[in-house]
Amino acid sequence: MSPVTLAINGQTVTVPAGTTIREAARTIGVDVPTVCYHPHFTANSLCRVCVVEMERSRVLVPACSRAVENDMVIFTDSPRVRLSRRTILELMHSAVDLSQAPEIMALLREYQADDGRFAGVGETLAVAQRDLPLHDDNAMYIRDYSKCILCWRCVQACGTDIQYTFALSLGGRGFQTRVATYFDAPIPETTCVYCGNCVAACPTGALKGKREWLIEQGKPLEPMPLGPKRRRRRADGEHLDLLDDRGHR
């Protein structure tokens, strides 16, 4: 494909067609921050932390997914861009427990995010936290959705980006959006195959190996019973079936 030439922060850049603005910026040593983007996953441009200013565009554009075009004029660190990034980080911090997300905490410091601006103070000024329960329903991993920023990586890992298992999906909408299972079933009753890809992809510690979590909690590492149903490989080795503890389907 023919190369594309654009300007990023006043520098002329030539990259192959199909390159994203973020990748193009990296070729000249400009790093555009992001929260939800991961090179192994389809970019959905959810967090909007990677937004950049583009001349002649009414709104900011996401650098993680927007492909370069000839004669684009991009600014990756303008005051408008910094305001959006800072506000989004503050909003995240006001709703989600980011204590185990060091990269996001580093961004909060870099953008001088104000801790208290969107946080509640006192009873009358209370604001909603993502007060979601911790799910400890299987032997392999826990799901602590008070730490979930909704980057979708687990859902994508479980779906068409890696495993094609579709145990995880999204439920609710707006501020009440959450990662869920179908009918909110516990993990052992879903199609989950315990591949662990979702746990590996989680950037905030919302998904965590069960043993790691037990160690953190100072709980004993006794062998944990599997759920009421577990997966066993059938004799022919071809199918995985849901069997209960007595071997019944």
Binding site: N44, S45, V51, V59
Partner: protein
């Protein structure tokens, strides 16, 4: 009429979208036509789609409902014209779930058209193939956003797609798609029949034609008005609308629905056309004009508007998912006199962030009314 002529006429007439974004209709059709022409499709498969966006959900807006209930055949005619112009063979009318009468009347009209060989595999023996499927929404405001609407039709969560690519190249089921608002389509048959010059006898040079305006609130004669574009807002409220109800005085008018902007009594001489409204920081939007008199507590209105957006945010992108919630909370405490120092600046930062960084039009306009009210000091936060 050759398809190039239809598209040329729409462009010459200067018809732009009436859903809120005001995109030139002829350019949209031309884009889809080119894409359909460039793709070879086996016989019997969809070449492209014509979608009528009838998911009218903007607050204070009821123009599309009236058109659908009173003149459903006009929409079908417009969609057939679109199908011919861009060579698409499938059509869908996506009607707001809360519009059962419109849905029934349109369904009956589609049946009628089919029975009279105006829809089907060989329309009036012209060789044109086009049929229309009826779809009903399930109540989500965001599904009026064109790509969320397509996700909904495809059976997924109603969430907007990242654009580009645009529907003209990657639309419903990946096919080139023309998606137009009801009122936009309703303008098409007249232009095709009478020509662009006829259409341009109304409106201004840069905003030709007429516009449906949904007038509501504290006026004597609320209702649906078709105005020649460029009519001053004052004329709409005080002549057509009969002036303020109950002898009250005007406090503000919200133009463009919940996603629109407030105009003050000093701004009443603004002509109702795209350019003039943009120049005063407003937008024509969906054509809703809500009039508030001096007895209305605008903070309560802001409370309703921000609650609406928090309720309707789909939750996909972070600025809107989190921002609409925080905006609602801060407005609620300001409305009850419990605002705290810094709230004004927080609302401005929040509003600018949602406007600049949100994925779709919902988040981008969720702070529009509030920002305009703060800017004009119609409401004040500490």
């Amino acid at each position: 009429m050759p398809r190039e002529q239809i598209i040329a006429d729409l462009k010459a007439a200067g018809l732009v979208g009436r859903g809120g974004a005001a995109f030139p209709t002829g350019v949209k059709w031309e884009g889809a036509a080119k894409e359909i022409q460039a793709r070879a499709v086996p016989a019997g498969e969809a070449t492209g789609y014509i979608i009528c966006n009838a998911d009218e959900s903007e607050t204070g807006t009821f123009k599309d409902r009236i058109l659908m209930e009173r003149d459903p055949h006009r929409l079908i005619e417009a969609m057939i014209i679109a199908a011919h112009a861009v060579a698409a063979n499938r059509g869908i009318i996506y009607v707001r779930g809360e519009y059962p009468l419109a849905f029934t009347r349109l369904s009956d009209a589609v049946e009628d058209a089919r029975a009279n060989q105006l829809l089907g595999i060989n329309i009036l023996n012209s060789g044109l193939e086009f049929d229309i499927e009826m779809r009903a929404g399930a109540g989500a405001y965001v599904c009026g956003e064109e790509t969320a609407l397509m996700e909904s039709i495809e059976g997924r969560r109603g969430e907007p797609r990242v654009k580009p690519p645009f529907p003209t190249t990657h639309g419903l089921f990946g096919k080139p798609t023309v998606i137009n608002n009801v009122e936009t389509l309703a303008n098409v048959p007249g232009i095709v029949m009478n020509g662009p010059r006829w259409y341009r006898q109304w409106g201004t040079e840069r905003s030709p034609g007429t516009r449906l305006v949904c007038l509501s609130g504290s006026v004597r004669k609320p209702g649906l008005y078709e105005i020649s574009m460029g009519l001053p807002l004052r004329s709409l409220i005080f002549n057509l609308g009969g002036g303020m109800a109950r002898g009250r005085t005007l406090q503000a008018a919200l133009v463009g629905g919940a996603a629109g902007a407030f105009l003050t009594p000093q701004q009443m001489d603004v002509p109702m056309d795209f350019q003039s409204l943009t120049a005063v920081g407003a937008t024509f939007g969906s054509g809703a004009v809500m009039v508030f008199d001096d007895s209305v507590a605008l903070w309560s209105v802001m409370r309703g508007i921000t609650k609406f957006f928090a309720h309707e945010s789909c939750g996909k992108c972070f600025p809107c998912q989190l921002g609409t919630q925080r905006q609602m909370e801060i407005v609620a405490r300001a409305a009850s006199g419990q605002g705290r120092s810094g709230d004004h600046d927080a609302l401005i930062a929040l509003g600018q962030t949602m406007r600049d960084a949100s994925l779709c039009g919902l988040g981008q306009t969720a702070a529009s009314a509030l920002l305009s009210a703060l800017d004009k000091k119609l409401v004040q936060a500490p």
